[in-house]
Each structure stands twice: as C-alpha cells, then as structure tokens.
C-alpha cells in the first residue's frame, strides 16, 4: 500500500424515504489514483459522489480526508478543502466566457474608485494559462465568447481546468465522456491521465466499460446501493464487471 489514502469512506449509508440508496459502502482512494465507479442506473453511484462532494450528508458511516474525519457542510466546504466535482452537463454557465466560468463564484476583483470591480483581464489570462498546462487547444477568439460556442470536449476541459486552477486534490467526475464524439472522448481520457500524473486523485462515474478499462486503476462496482465488488482492470474483464453490475 502506498502512503495514507486521500479519501477513505467507511460504511456509508443513505436513505431517501424508504429507499436505501446506499448501504455500508467502503471506499479508499489514493493520490494519483483513478477509481472508476460502475453500476447500473439506480445503483447509488450518484448518491455516493454527492456525499463525497458535500451535497448530501450520509445517514451513517464516516468520511476520512487525508486521515482526518470529515464532516462536509456543503459543496462549497468540499471545494475549499480540495474536493472538486464536475457534473456531466451542468458545470458551466453557457452564456459566460471561459475566464468567467473558471472563476465562477470566486471572481477576482480590483478596487476602482473604492468599488470592487471584476478583474476580467486576469480571469482571461489565468484561463489561458490553465488550459495551456492541460495542453488544451482553444482558439484565441473563443475565449471572449460564451462557452456555448465551444465543443463538448472543450467545455469538459474548461470544467477540468477550473478544478485544477482551484487546486483540486480529489476530482470527482460524473460521466466525463458521455455526449462526446470519439476524438473528444480520447482527449478527456488523456486529461484524466495527465491529472493522475500530477498526483490528483480522480473518482469518476462511467457507463462506458472501454473508458473505464482505459484509464482506471481500480473499478468499484455498485449494485442497488451495496458494493458488489472491486477489481483491478488487469485482474478482470468486461464480462465480469457487467456480471457484478447486474448481479447473478
């Protein structure tokens, strides 16, 4: 085992009304590791990432972040301590430009006649810089346009860039490759591996077994709220993972 895990979940449970969305799920994630979360619809994947990103408090069980017990107050709290979440298609304000999206909710300002004015030049410059470090190609003139004019992969990159700029140490991604064309899927997978190389821990949900086997170090399979199994891609195959997902 490498050093202390960045995230450890112990016996997480969550009920919605009478439905057990999650029951006694354990999870361990290390820095620089990519963990895939697989499971059929309603298996509890979304509930699990929502607990880790601070949207829902767990009913039972505990989170340990960098070795310390963690009680998340809200998503903002999670982000402040380095847990960033990228939702499938709800991450960006489509009517704002790249810089505004990277800084959404945390805009830099400068003083102007005693008033705090948005520092758009800085927002734009930083957005350039961040996307450069991720080796993302976005035409210069696109930076001043609303992000709705970007392609799906570029938009995903902006969301990832935002997470990186804000020093994400644990990045949660919900279906990062869904709704993308094949070349763009490959780009996003490259990005995930680049994040891994930068020692970021990545937890991602995917329905796409090819993607999972391409980038994950481990695969955690959920079935109806319980942990159906955990495998390394080298020790398993698509058939076994599907079997774990659907049972039998």
């Amino acid at each position: 085992m490498p050093s202390e895990p960045i995230l450890r979940c112990e016996k997480l449970s969550k009920r919605f009304g009478g439905v057990h969305a999650l029951e006694n799920v354990d999870l361990v994630l290390h820095r620089g590791e990519v963990l895939a979360l697989a499971g059929d619809n309603g298996a509890g994947k979304s509930t699990l990432i929502k607990i880790i990103s601070g949207v829902h408090p767990p009913d039972d069980g505990a989170l340990f972040y960098k070795g310390e017990k963690l009680r998340l107050r809200n998503p903002r709290h999670a982000r402040e301590i380095g847990i960033e979440t990228i939702y499938q298609d709800l991450a960006l304000a489509d009517n704002l430009d790249v810089g505004a999206n990277v800084f959404l909710g945390r805009e830099p300002t400068k003083s102007f006649l005693g008033l705090q004015r948005l520092d758009r030049a800085r927002m734009r410059a930083v957005a350039h810089e961040v996307l450069d470090t991720l080796d993302i190609d976005i035409a210069r003139h696109k930076f001043v346009q609303p992000v709705r004019n970007l392609s799906g992969g570029q938009r995903q990159a902006v969301a990832i860039g935002r997470a990186i700029y804000w020093k994400a140490e644990l990045l949660i991604m919900d279906e990062p490759t869904a709704a993308l064309g094949v070349p763009e899927q490959r780009k996003v997978k490259e990005l995930i591996l680049r994040l891994k190389a930068q020692n970021v821990a990545v937890l991602f949900i995917s329905h796409n077994l090819v993607d999972i086997f391409d980038v994950a170090d481990r695969i955690l399979v959920l079935r109806r709220g319980i942990k159906a199994g955990e495998r390394r891609p080298s020790e398993t195959d698509h058939n076994e993972v599907v079997r774990l997902m659907i049972g039998g």
């Binding site: 998503p75 903002r76 982000r79 979440t85 939702y87 709800l90 991450a91 960006l92 304000a93 489509d94 009517n95 704002l96 505004a100 959404l104 909710g105 945390r106 805009e107 300002t109 102007f112 008033l115 705090q116 004015r117 948005l118 035409a139 346009q145 609303p146 709705r148 004019n149 970007l150 392609s151 799906g152 992969g153 570029q154 993308l180 064309g181 070349p183 763009e184």
Partner: protein
C-alpha cells in the same frame, strides 16, 4: 460534434459585418427613427424635431418611467425571471408617498419630502421582499408570484388612495418633479443616476456576474457556491426599489399620487428590456440595451404625437418593434453561427 463546431467557427468568421449589424441594430434603429421624424416634421411642418430642447426633454421624460421600471426588470429577466408587479408597486409607492406628505407637509415641507421619499422606497421593498421570498424560497414561478403581487399592490394602492388620486401641495416636491439642473429635468437626472449605478452593478460587479450566471445555468451557479436564493431575493427587491423610485418621481411630477400611475408602463418596461436585447429565457441583456429600448419607445410615442398621427398608432408601432426585436434575437444563431441552447 467537433466538425460542427469547426463549421460554426468558419461561419462566425465570415460574417463579422452581419454580427455587428445584429448587435448594433437597436442603436441603428434609434438613429433611423430620429432621422425619419426629423425629415417628416421638416417636410410637413417646416420645424425641427430633435433640434428643439423642449422635444428632447419631453422624450427624456417619456422614457424615464419605462426606463426606471426596465432597469430592475433587466436584472430580473437576465436571471431568468419576470416581475409583473412593478407597475402597481410604482403606483403604491406614489400613493403612499403622497399620503405621508399630505400629513407631514403642514409641519415642515422639506422634512415632508424627505419622509415621503423614504416612505416610497420603503413601501416598495415590501412587495419586493414578498416576491423574492415567494420565488426564491417557496419556488413559486415568477410569472405567477408577481402576477399575484400585481393584484395585491393594485388593490392596496387604491385602498390607501381611497379610490382617487392623492394631491399634495408642497413646493419642494413640485421642484423635484419640475425644476431643471443645468437644463436637465430633475426626474431625468435622477433616472440617469440610477442608470449609471445599475449599469456598473450589472457589468462590473460580482453581483452582476452572478445575475448572468443564474440566468445562464442556475444549477451551475448553485454548485459554484453562489447563494442563489439570497441573490434572487435581492433581484426582486432591486426591481421593486426601481419601481419605488419611479413612483416617487411620478408623485413629484404631478404633485399627486395615483394607484394606476404605473399601469400602462409595465409592458413598456418589459418591451424596453426585450428591444434592448435581453432574452426572456434569461442569461443575456444589458442596461445600455434597456436604455436604448426605452428611448426607442419614447421616440416612437412622442414622435408620432409630434407629427400628428393618431395616438393609437403608438401601440401598433411599439408592438411591431417588440416582435421584430425578438425575431432578430431568434435569428442570431442562424446568421452568425452562434449556438443557442433553446434549439
């Protein structure tokens, strides 16, 4: 998908002139209107339309009320909402201000004006707060919530006014409504101050940025840690505050408060916002756009009167402009290659 994006890129690059036309059309249209009325009045009556200070002041005064209501409305519409109550909130503020001043003017006219102004703004905040709370906390759709408040404010205004107008005889109030500062009517000067403050807030502050973000993607805004509920509440209070200022100016101009003061102005204010380029789906719009929209409406209204056209044509003309402005907005995507979410 990538291929589609590239095609859009190319098209966007090929039509910079068209893109400019679409962005600048309200300005061009305003200039066109002025040229039209100028030439018509010179040809038919041998007088100038714009070269006349009285005309300019009248147009500015015509524009002031829809503009004031439109300023707050711009914020609300950009965030994806609508405020139908502003017209009667304006009337309520006008009536309350007049009532307060009726009682206090015999004591001290200057103090009475101060109290009246405070009362107008304060009373407007009540429906604003209720609207905001209904919409942000209790999830009432803005159209319905503010339509309800439309009725409540209307009834309250008429009840407080006793069913008639509420006259005030106060020289300070009259001065505020009818005097000029360096040639600018004081109501217009006040309106311009509000325009500058609102423009700065929308275009330069975090508050403005969050307003756009909420209209663009409410869930993304929530997830970015923006306090969307509080922000939404503030938006409706800003809208009501603008209505309060409009009510205050109304009472000053006419030395009387009337519950129906803002009734015909509500739709003009929404029209000004839409003509100015805001989308009723939220996410876009500017204060400058609303300013131009209000001026276009005022020039049409005043210009048609000036060239002696039957006043009912005003409604037709303004209606056509609204429809055309929305058509232009709709065709933006096709003409410039910009993507739209609605499609």
């Amino acid at each position: 998908m990538a291929a589609a994006a590239r095609v859009a890129d190319d098209e966007g690059g090929q039509h910079p002139a068209l893109a400019f036309l679409i962005r600048a059309w309200p300005w061009l249209f305003l200039i066109g209107l002025c040229v039209f009325f100028e030439s018509w009045s010179r040809a038919s009556y041998g007088v100038t339309f714009l070269g006349n200070t009285f005309n300019l002041q009248s147009i500015a005064l015509f524009a002031a009320f829809p503009l004031l209501l439109g300023l707050g409305q711009t914020f609300v519409i950009i965030a994806g909402g609508i405020d139908l109550s502003v017209g009667f909130v304006m009337g309520l503020a006008a009536v309350v201000m007049a009532r307060v001043m009726q009682y206090t003017t015999p004591v001290d006219p200057a103090l009475a004006l101060a109290l009246g102004i405070l009362a107008a703004i304060a009373i407007a905040m009540v429906p604003g707060w209720i609207n905001g709370t209904l919409i942000s906390r209790l999830r009432v759709p803005p159209f319905i919530g503010t339509l309800g408040m439309f009725g409540v404010a209307r009834g309250a205004g008429f009840l407080i006014a006793g069913g008639t107008t509420v006259p005030v005889n106060n020289p300070w109030l009259f001065a505020m409504g009818n005097e000029r500062l360096f040639g600018v009517p004081i109501p217009v000067a006040i309106t311009l101050l509000v325009v500058v403050a609102m423009h700065w807030t929308l275009a330069q502050s975090k508050f403005g940025q969050y307003t756009y973000a909420i209209g663009g993607n409410r869930i993304a805004a929530v997830r970015s840690g923006i306090n969307v509920r509080r922000h939404t509440l503030l938006l409706y209070m800003i809208s009501a505050g603008c209505a309060g200022i409009a009510g205050m100016i109304y009472t000053a101009r006419f030395s009387a408060g009337a519950a129906q003061a803002g009734e015909p102005i509500l739709l003009d204010s929404i029209a000004a916002v839409v003509i100015g380029g805001a989308s009723l789906f939220g996410g876009s719009g500017t204060i400058l756009g609303t300013l131009i929209g209000a001026l276009i409406i005022a020039v049409i209204q005043f210009g048609l009167v000036f060239i002696n056209v039957e006043p009912f044509w005003q409604f037709v003309a303004v209606g056509i402009v609204i429809i055309v402005s929305v058509l232009i907005d709709q065709s933006k995507g096709r003409l410039t290659g910009e993507r739209k979410d609605a499609e």
